[in-house]
């Protein structure tokens, strides 16, 4: 296993008390696989990514039974050790490429900076050719002239490609992509998704692909993980989650999508809103909004995870397959 996470919890202290942004998260990621993480705002998907990169603010309280990446225990890394991991073993790309790139410096400057950071001691005459190589790898036409551009001269798609180039410059084993296509037009999104898949296969990389868009997740992932209120409520292979999902929230998410609904049918909508993490409901976090919830669901226990046939779900009343 490339990445093993066991019972990861991330809490924050505020003036009104401590609250858990993420609790008891457990999952594994194999080499060369794409894990799609899907969830709505406040579900904790982005915070988890930051924890995997050691980028949480100092006031975050992180506890876990295990947090191992490629044999390294991420829980015990000093800031110095983290710099060996970040960028070189784990790369990250973000949602808005226009704000992720520094507007004051050219693409060349930023790309070369990333290369030098990820290849300590690289001879300076090799940096520029590597930069051009990377740009071709991510499909930038005419790299020699593009490399001298400033970020404001780039389109969203170009900027995202450059961010990908920077992120893979260290040949990381894991790429964390946090909503990388959300801010892009749909035709460009397709290009970027294909590019990511291509790079993943060529470089033997794993990807954690985070998005709120189930449609995108369904196309790119091998395995899907659904998060809600800081917990993983269901996970499994792509086909299982899309076609044989067990958790009512997953069902709700899929049914809320307009997809192939006829305009005469009302859209399914999950009633209510996501819970306030400072005031969590007891028992199952989804029970206040769930059409199948019972008093058992709301009682004071943490709902245990069922594990069966490569699929896990956290529910006392899972959906059974009808017909």
């Amino acid at each position: 296993m490339l990445l093993t996470v066991k019972n990861l919890s991330i809490s924050f202290e505020t003036d009104n008390g401590t609250f858990q942004a993420v609790r008891n998260l457990s999952f594994q990621l194999d080499k060369n696989k794409i894990l799609g993480v899907v969830g709505e705002s406040g579900c904790g998907k982005s915070i988890t990514n930051l924890a995997l990169m050691g980028l949480l603010p100092p006031e975050a309280i992180v506890t876990a039974d295990e947090l191992t990446f490629d044999g390294l225990n991420l829980l015990e890394l000093s800031e110095k050790k983290w710099s060996v991991v970040r960028g070189k073993k784990i790369g990250m790309i973000f949602q808005d490429p226009m704000t992720a790139l520094n507007p004051c410096f050219t693409v060349r400057y930023q790309l070369e900076e990333a290369i030098r950071y990820n290849h300590i001691g690289i001879p300076s005459d090799q940096v520029y050719p590597m930069a051009l190589d990377l740009l071709s790898m991510v499909g930038i036409p005419d790299p020699k002239s593009r490399i001298e551009c400033y970020p404001y001269e780039l389109s969203g798609g170009m900027a995202q490609r450059i961010m990908i180039a920077m992120a893979i410059s260290g040949h990381p084993k894991l790429l964390i992509a946090d909503e990388p296509t959300t801010a892009l037009d749909v035709t460009i999104q397709l290009q970027i998704l294909k590019l990511l898949k291509e790079i993943q296969e060529k470089n033997n990389m794993s990807i954690i692909f985070v998005s709120h868009d189930l449609n995108v997740i369904s196309k790119i992932s091998d395995k899907i993980q659904v998060m809600y209120a800081g917990e993983i409520i269901e996970s499994g292979s792509k086909t299982k989650i899309i076609n044989e999902h067990k958790h009512p929230y997953t069902k709700g998410l899929l049914e809320s999508l307009p997809g192939h609904k006829k305009s005469t049918e009302k859209l399914f909508s999950i009633p209510g809103i996501v819970p306030d993490l400072k005031n969590r409901p007891t028992g199952c976090q989804f029970s206040p909004r769930c059409e199948y919830s019972t008093s058992d669901c709301e009682s004071n226990k943490t709902i245990e995870i069922n594990d069966h046939d490569g699929q896990q779900w956290r529910c006392l009343n899972p959906i059974s397959r009808q017909n």
Binding site: S41, V186, I188, I242, G252, P258, K266, S269, I273
Partner: protein, 325 residues
């Protein structure tokens, strides 16, 4: 199903909006954000407007509602040219719902004040009357009336959009421009707001100009659809017909590119459109889509295609022309 005799309630005729930048040091540059756009919205219907960034759909919304001044062409609402209305009069005919729930409500005003603003500006109703009407609407859009005295930061994104909808309804307009009304919302909340919009349309006989980059939402809610690219409408027709048999290659590309969990097509098998949107300062000669279209021929590079009109479908493509000959 709307009958084809439904009256046209909003009409844009060869509407153009150019942005010109003049400076001492550079030659004059013109961006044709809208270039001879003509469309019709029929009473009680939803016209979906789709396209990617830079296509001009937001500019179209702003020009119709008066936030931007048109350069050429005309806009008619209920038969009357829109420039003959003062903004206060216009709000009884057409209003707009904005995209960003965190940005479209004045943070210093209470919910009922925000909702009643359009009415307060044009009528001499007393504060208590305004409050009463506002609270009725707040309930109508699915919010509890006790929330009327709260400030925007106490509402969630979906609730704020509902307030925006209530605000758009208070002057009883017949046409509502929805500028990406659900794009900034979570999926489960999107569905709630879309359902609300449909319900209100049915109950109040509203007509929507529904702008979105999300094809699946437009496919669900629109009766007719117009596809825009680089300031022009490239295809227009009945929504189900356009989605089932798109005539313009760009429309086809849009439909292909939108991922769908229901479809079993693998990522690698989905056809991509290469290249990027050309700069609006310097669109290609001939058809604007020619540098990315898989079917480009010589004619496409030289001449911009005229509209080809068959069976309630308008397409701007030389190949659609040829198909029918």
């Amino acid at each position: 199903m709307m009958n084809s005799e439904a009256r046209t309630i909003l009409k844009a005729n060869i509407l153009s909006k150019y942005y010109v930048s003049e400076s001492m040091f550079k030659p004059k540059q013109t961006v044709k954000a809208l270039d001879s756009v003509s469309l019709e919205l029929r009473e009680g219907e939803t016209l979906g407007l789709v396209g990617e960034s830079g296509c001009g759909k937001s500019t179209l919304a702003k020009t119709i509602i008066g936030l931007e001044k048109k350069t050429k062409g005309s806009i008619f609402i209920q038969g009357r040219e829109i420039s003959t209305f003062s903004p206060k009069e216009l709000s009884s005919h057409i209003q707009m719902i904005f995209q960003d729930p965190y940005n479209s409500l004045n943070p210093r005003k209470k919910a009922w004040q925000l909702v009643s603003d359009p009415l307060r500006v044009k009528s001499s109703a007393s504060e208590s009357e305004l409050k009463k009407i506002a609270i009725e609407l707040i309930e109508r859009v699915g919010l509890r009336p006790e929330l009327a005295d709260r400030y925007p930061h106490m509402f969630s994104g979906g609730q704020r959009q509902r307030l925006g909808i209530a605000r758009a309804l208070i002057t009883k307009p017949k046409v509502i421009i929805c500028d990406e009304p659900v794009s900034a919302l979570d999926v489960s909340v999107q569905a709630q707001v879309i359902n609300l919009l449909k319900e209100l349309q049915k109950d109040l006989g509203l007509s929507y100009l529904f702008i979105s980059h999300d094809l699946s939402v437009v496919k669900y809610i629109a009766d007719r659809i117009a596809v825009m690219y680089l300031g022009k409408i490239v295809e227009q027709g009945r929504a189900d017909a356009v989605f089932n048999s798109p005539a313009h290659p760009y429309t086809q590309a849009l439909i292909n590119s939108a991922p769908d969990f229901n479809s079993s097509v693998e990522l690698s098998d989905i056809p991509t459109i290469s290249g990027e949107l050309p700069s609006p300062l310097n669109p290609p000669n001939g058809c604007h889509f020619s540098n990315r279209c898989p079917h480009t021929n010589d004619l496409c590079l030289k001449e911009y295609p005229l509209y080809h009109n068959t069976e309630d479908r308008l397409v701007a493509c030389h190949l659609a022309d040829k198909k029918d000959r």
